[in-house]
Subunit: 189 residues, 2 copies
């Protein structure tokens, strides 16, 4: 990276490298060295901007999650209740691409041994759970905890399903699972 | 390992080490060296019994999967149709312990980059899918593909859910998700 590149651009390049490495090989492969190699800088340039590995993971993962959260908010915008629930879940399992799903899986798998990742995942889950419960309430669902549990299981299952079978599921198969889920919860369109 | 230990016992110790390392740290951490350290043998003793890393993974993962398959078959024994479906899924998400779930997640995550693991997972999935479809047919379910998809999503989602939240779900929460799933498929008890 040339010296004239500003701080934001450098942090952005470092963040992109962290995410790309995590998507390809998991967070164990994300080190100051591997990130420096990927952005074409020395390790001391990387540590100048992010301190150590934990701070690098925190900055990169928070930035990535914020971008995803903004996409999710946009998908829900102008909807309420059942429609908003379906828009959020559709975004998570139909709109988000395979790289995004690989990123989430990498995050979930690494969280037990990387407290920095656990904290970022917990913060996202707290936002997601509050949003989801609020919209389910608006939709007139009474068993909020059970409904949220079922939706979270279906989202996680559809994200993992692609990797279990070795190829992403066609949209039609995912939509079918979602359609059954909406009927089970009484919030079909 | 002492020289008098026979071949079966050595392969068994190597297999246990492979599974334990994969459960703790993922398959990237499973090497001839790390397995040799764990069983207290030299790397040349390990390669004497399993050849190279790929053969070691194949032998260990096949043995572990066979043991799980036998548990699943025992859970289904003496049941048919809807009862057999519920027994299989209950075994997968209620009876199997956290280490087993971590093993499956490690297998799914590593399969895209480790053809040996992909092949073992595919073989298990072929058995699982054939068994499940057969039992769903016996249970009078007509939309076999959709029903199997929903069940696979729920199983994967319940296995991953524990890691997403950072702690295993209590049995009651899992049972509730399963109860909704049985009703959605028309195969409740």
């Amino acid at each position: 990276m040339p010296r004239t590149v500003d701080r934001t651009a450098r942090l952005s390049a470092i963040g992109d490298a962290v995410v790309a490495l995590a998507v390809d090989s998991g967070f164990a492969a994300v080190t100051i060295r591997s990130v420096a190699e990927r952005v074409g800088a020395s390790t001391s340039v990387v540590t100048h901007y992010v301190g150590g590995r934990d701070e690098m993971l925190r900055v990169a993962v928070r930035r990535e999650i914020e971008a995803r959260r903004e996409q999710a908010e946009n998908a829900m915008a102008n909807h309420r209740g059942a429609r908003a629930v379906r828009a959020l879940i559709d975004w998570a399992v139909l709109t988000a691409d395979e790289a995004t799903h690989r990123f989430w899986l990498a995050l979930i798998v690494a969280a037990p041994t990387e407290p920095v990742l656990r904290a970022e995942l917990d913060a996202f889950n707290a936002w997601w759970d509050a949003r989801l419960r609020n919209m389910l309430r608006e939709a007139g669902v009474t068993e909020l905890e059970h409904a949220a549990d079922l939706l979270n299981v279906v989202v996680d299952g559809l994200v993992v399903g692609a990797f279990d079978e070795g190829a992403p599921w066609p949209q039609a198969r995912r939509r079918q699972v979602l359609a059954t889920t909406w009927r089970a919860l009484g919030i079909a369109g």
